[in-house]
């Protein structure tokens, strides 16, 4: 079996894997990083969003081997020690989550969104979260959370 090496949340990992191992399976099963979720099989729900070299991507639609040599950040690597990322804080402060299942992917997408758009308005946030489905919140408090975090992330 081929070998894959990558950096996940700052730590180097190397493993032998079957070529048909998806990145999300590698993270969840091999590394037991279960904060990245699988909510669909057509690359649409966004529950599996992580960062590959700083760009948000759906880990269910990337082979682990494609990420060879890459820097991966998952939800578990977003906080700096006990200091939550401003986006994580904002989701809690603004009731941006209910069941929590979509939340980890939503936060990872939102971090990339703010990185690219600075201080996005509501419409930009709503459009920018097109790749993430939430069934609980009606998105209103998610939009509020992202807006609030954008203030913190810039300032």
């Amino acid at each position: 079996m081929p070998t894959v090496s990558m950096t996940v949340n700052g730590k180097p990992v190397t493993a032998e894997i079957a070529p048909n191992t998806l990145l999300v399976s590698f993270l969840r099963e091999n590394l037991r990083l279960t904060g990245t979720h699988v909510g669909c099989d057509t690359s649409q729900c966004g529950a599996c969003v992580i960062h590959i070299d700083g760009e948000s991507a759906k880990a269910c639609t990337v082979l682990a081997l494609q990420a060879n040599g890459a820097e991966i950040t998952t939800i578990e690597g977003l906080a700096k020690g006990n200091n939550l990322h401003p986006m994580q804080k904002a989701f809690q402060e603004n009731h941006g989550l209910q069941c929590g299942f979509c939340t980890t992917g939503m936060i990872m997408s939102a971090v990339d969104l703010v990185k690219k758009h600075g201080k996005p308005d509501d419409a930009t946030i709503r459009k920018g979260l097109e790749g993430n489905i939430c069934r609980c919140t009606g998105y209103q408090n998610i939009v509020k959370s992202v807006k609030a975090a954008a203030q913190e992330m810039e300032g």
Binding site: P19, D41, S43, C60, T61, L63, Q66, N68, G128, N132
Partner: protein
């Protein structure tokens, strides 16, 4: 996913040398991998083009813009200096798809509801492969079928600069593919109108082109009859509705350009 062998060549030549029967090229993977996950495709080998640096990048020139096959939609959206093309790329899929999906992959797949084929055909682009240069008008053959032969890899797509252009898309509300997308371009050789989503394969609407070439205005679009015959008829839209959208979106594209 079924089992397969995986190769990640560093150069185009290595990639070409690896090609064989039952082998598929892996570009961004945003369509291929979901298909394989559902066991609807069973290649014996995937040749991942991700490590071939020469296939990536946006290269502007005075009269044209060359985009490497492995350039992501997000890069095209932010770097392409043909605004209609950048705008089209910015509307493909969702941000995560745009961070991975590539122009070469999209064009080679020729999904009937994909956005890029409309730009390629509308702007009269050229597809350069390891073997030859293919004109857009010859490239898109039929449903998921292109002029590409086995052992042929797209290197880049070169877009001549239009005088003006616009792309207007009506999203499938579920998949966010195009129910209909219309790319209108004013070029030295007249107006080109390319329609995606509406038929089995992207196509040019000659009557609209003729009308708009002689009079570039919304009123001119009104004089054209868009037939529903041969258009897609599915769960999301009837052929009749698609025919209507072709006209409406063409008018909106013309208005954006300033007709």
């Amino acid at each position: 996913m079924y089992h397969f062998e995986y190769q990640r060549p560093a150069t185009l030549d290595e990639a070409v040398a690896l090609l064989k029967e039952d082998c598929k090229l892996l570009a961004g993977g945003q369509t291929l991998l979901p298909t394989m996950k559902q066991r609807l495709a069973q290649p014996e080998m995937l040749v991942d083009l991700g490590a071939i640096e020469t296939l990536r990048g946006v290269c502007p020139d005075d009269d044209k813009l060359a985009i490497g096959a492995m350039t992501t939609h997000a890069e095209v959206a932010s770097k392409a200096d043909i605004p209609a093309l950048a705008c089209l790329a910015a509307g493909i899929g969702d941000p995560q798809v745009r961070n991975r999906g590539t122009i070469g992959g999209s064009v080679a797949n020729n999904d009937p509801a994909a956005d890029y084929p409309a730009a390629v055909l509308g702007l009269n682009a050229q597809i350069t492969t390891n073997k030859r240069v293919i004109a857009a008008d010859d490239f898109f053959v039929d449903l998921f079928e292109t002029a590409l032969e086995e052992n042929e890899i797209i290197i880049n797509v070169t877009f001549p600069r239009p005088q003006a252009a616009a792309y207007v898309k009506f999203d499938n509300p579920a998949s966010r593919y195009a129910i209909v997308g219309v790319f209108v371009a004013k070029t030295g050789g007249g107006v080109r109108v390319a329609v995606t989503g509406a038929g089995p394969c992207v196509f040019r609407h000659k009557d609209l082109e003729t009308a708009l070439t002689s009079n570039f205005s919304a009123q001119s679009v009104d004089t054209v009859t868009v037939s529903a015959t041969g258009l897609n008829n599915d769960l999301h839209a009837s052929a009749e509705y698609r025919a209507n959208l072709i006209k409406v979106l063409t008018k909106r594209a013309v208005a954006q350009i300033g007709g």
